[in-house]
């Protein structure tokens, strides 16, 4: 029984190859990002698509909040995204130290 179950599971989980055309820089980023997390670009994309499928659909139109609609529109228009992170606590400490000390 166990062997039969495993076989069925294997058949269901069989992967299918897919050829994608992506920005070379994005491919490079994706491979590095995946390598850093001990996974593969394929698994990253699979996870992302699974999340898209599973997340409850909320309309981007009138049903979504103004914040969601605005950011969705900005991203669709290619609005530049901030590329870096800062240590926000260090930033505020520096500012407060300058301001009040």
């Amino acid at each position: 029984m166990i062997i039969t179950y495993d076989l069925l599971k294997f058949v269901r989980m069989a992967k299918q190859k897919l050829t994608l055309a992506l920005d070379p820089e994005l491919i490079s980023f994706g491979k590095n990002y995946a390598a850093g997390r001990r996974t593969s670009l394929s698994e990253l994309l699979e996870t992302y698509l699974a999340q898209l499928r599973a997340t409850p659909e909320v309309p981007d139109g009138d049903g979504a909040s103004a914040l969601v609609r605005r950011i969705r529109a900005e991203l669709a228009q290619g609005q530049p995204k901030a590329p870096h992170e800062v240590d926000q606590k260090a930033v505020r400490l520096e500012h407060l130290s300058t301001k009040f000390l």
């Binding site: 909320v58 979504a64 103004a66 605005r70 991203l75 995204k81 590329p83 505020r92 500012h95």
Partner: protein, 136 residues
């Protein structure tokens, strides 16, 4: 249901931080679609405004900030939270967590979930983890 939002996730939305804005936005969209109210403290908002304006000036948008304010309700910071927070390593995180406890808010979106492990009544998780939880 209400979910609190920490400074880092607010910044992801406010300045469209490239690695995180999409998941943060999807989490907001999913939560709001389920009738969840996002909340935070005034201090968290002030911090997000300050860091966003100062360090991400070229990505800052006043309209985005105002829309964010419309999407988030404030919880109060009781004096007891300010008093009890001195017992914790990170005063700022403790004030947020204790204010959440006071307001009976049980979930926090943050990308520094480990900083909130001391607060057993609070489920601190990233927007990505929140979205993953919706799938199970």
């Amino acid at each position: 249901m209400r979910i609190a939002v920490d400074t880092d996730v607010l910044l992801d939305l406010l300045v469209l931080r490239i690695a995180h804005v999409e998941s943060a936005l999807r989490a907001v969209q999913a939560a709001q679609g389920q009738g969840v109210q996002l909340v935070t403290t005034a201090c968290v908002l002030q911090n997000a405004y300050f860091v966003g304006q100062r360090h991400y000036a070229e990505y800052w948008s006043l309209e985005r900030w105002l829309d964010l304010l419309d999407s988030v309700e404030l919880i109060t910071v009781p004096k007891a939270a300010l008093e009890r927070a001195v017992d914790y390593v990170d005063y700022e995180d403790a004030v947020l967590a204790l204010s959440m406890q006071h307001a009976a808010v049980r979930m926090l979106w943050t990308r520094n979930a480990k900083d909130f492990r001391e607060f057993a009544s609070i489920a601190a998780l990233s927007p990505e983890a929140y979205l993953a939880g919706l799938t199970t």
